[in-house]
Amino acid sequence: MQLWLIPILPLAGFVINGLFGRRFSKAIVNTIAIGGVVLAFAWVLKTLLGLGAMDSVYIERYFTWIQSGSLHIGCDFAVDRLTAVMLLVVTGVGSVIHIYAIGYMAHEGGYYRFFAYMNLFMFFMLVLVLAANFLLLFVGWEGVGLCSYLLIGFYFDKQFATNAGNKAFIVNRIGDFGFSLAMFLIFVNFGSLDFGSVFHQAPSASTELLTTIGLLLLVGACGKSAQLPLYVWLPDAMAGPTPVSALIHAATMVTAGVYMTSRSWPIYVHAPPAMDAIAIVGIATAFFAASIGLVQNDIKKVFAYSTVSQLGYMFVGVGCGAFSAGIWHLVTHAFFKALLFLGAGSVIHALSGEQDLRNMGGLRGKIPWTFWTMMCAAVAIAGVPPFSGFFSKDAILLAAYHHAPWMYWLGVVTAGMTAFYVFRAMFLTFFGSYRGHEHPHESPPVMWIPLAILAALSLVGGLLFKIPDFLQTSFPAQEVPENPSLMPISVAFGLIGIFVAWLMYVARPAMADSLASAFKILYTTLYNKYFVDEIYDATIVKPVVGGSRWVLWKGADAGLIDGSVNGVGTLAQSVGGVLRRLQSGNIRSYATWVLFGSVLAIVAIAIASTLPLGGLQ
């Protein structure tokens, strides 16, 4: 089926634009970049249609990548139903966002560089989802991390952007460390990194081993998917251009952890403690990030914390054994969160770079397309039936209730907060009176048509794409009893959230400030994101930097290593300085030394011959 064409097409776009893009006009750069991704999407469609029902895994083996002892790693791609879903999301949403980026990036410098990186990202993301073994998945995993770093730091002349890029890269290293250890453990115990072989042997392994592997994989997933305690990089990642936030930091890359843990379900189902850990990390992250999102003033920060929170939901789904529900939320989230980010980008574009919610307001009539499309995403994420987020979130919450009721209750409270912060952002942006100074203008069609496509998907995505039914054969069957009484509760929480937001920001605008001053400590804590960055800085970053600087650099490197090397040099120099005086150039002084030396030698021999040892004989 030529699966290799899927990732190669964007890679070709990257190579062409990356090498020659500087000399191309924008139209050519667009054609190459968009063409690569759209063709990949088309090829995905053709492949999936050709594969039919996909009841078994379809594998294409290309070549042996690493052969060393018993380690055999092939460059193999595999497609099953889970991969099919991911391929469609990545290339589909990716195409839409690429098209949008034409309009958004129109006035930015480094145009070709942006599209080259985006294409490279698509390549690595497609390798990640197509990979048929852990190591190839890891290649994609690291590659998307690299592209994320490059695109967060796209405005590299700004200090905060490069810092944010570094932060993302370094925090992800911690996760990758866990992932690497998991791969070593898998190879040592199963003798292979192939999904098929590993998952075939997994049921016969001990629970302890599988739990260890599962927890280490979870560490990797926490880094990539921005879960507690490694989520800190994602909010800062908003320093990149908005299409990047939508594509990489909302729709695709950050969901790689969810994909990877779902892909590894044969390991997890035999490791209940690891599953519990996933669920607890997920629900804690969901609640924690949503509470921070309540009070943020930067429109992209609100959606960034929302992304962290929604990823937490997906982890809850995976951790509760409802893998298909987690993937379902991944898909719907890709629609509505990409739309929210692109909409936010459209607002920022309209206001010529303004991101602060306090300087917006009343934009409803001025940028109607943006308003209406974002409204679709807002109702979808708030869980209003029958829009997409409602279905997937409800499936996860149902599984959570079945797993542990307290998770369900925390989940619905989070759902209420989600509805609140999204509508708070909407009301502050589009309602009331305009508080800014820029003259707002509606975005061009190349931007709002992608918004409209995503809006349609956000509205009907849940009804159209019944992912759990499609993935029924991919995951172990899970008996979740129908519980019709739960659905109204979560819907009610969502509606309450919307109502409170309306009350506080439309009906009585003064209420928000009075509440903030009434609960000053709570507000300050939330506004400062629980001081997590400061705590990490004080407990981890400062000691590591200080230790590196004073102990390793100044102490070990400059003191010990440089000191001993320079010491040897200085010693030779000073000894030479003394010996230099012997070479006076005066022949008679040399002769004197020779005489002196020979007399000394004769005397020494004479003394030695009188010693009791019997001299030289």
């Binding site: 070479q583 150039g585 022949i587 008679r588 002769a591 004197t592 005489l595």
Partner: protein
């Protein structure tokens, strides 16, 4: 039969000649004199070689003496050539003025 001259006389003479050579080498400034002092030292050594050869009734000492003479002849040829060149270039034979190998 002639009264034998004691061995120690030869050796003492050799030591005196060698010491004269050393003294000349150390204290004279003219390169020619220094050069002659070296020859003197070589011949002093030759004398002790031959003496020991005579005393030990062995041919080895003679052999060494001839070797030393051959080397000394070669050295004299090369050394005089060097001295001539030095004089041509510097118009001096004072050994203390020739110190370009310094530093």
């Amino acid at each position: 039969m002639m009264t034998q001259v004691p061995i120690s006389w030869f050796l003492t003479l050799s030591a005196i000649l060698f010491a004269l050579g050393v003294a000349g080498f150390l204290f004279r400034r003219s390169i020619i004199t220094v050069f002659m002092s070296i020859e003197l030292m070589l011949n002093a050594v030759n004398l002790s070689f031959v003496t020991f050869s005579y005393q030990n009734k062995s041919i080895d000492g003679h052999l060494y003496a001839f070797f030393v003479m051959v080397v000394a002849a070669a050295e004299a040829a090369v050394g005089l050539a060097i001295i001539l060149t030095i004089f041509k270039n510097r118009s001096t034979l004072n050994i203390d003025d020739i110190e370009s190998m310094k530093n």
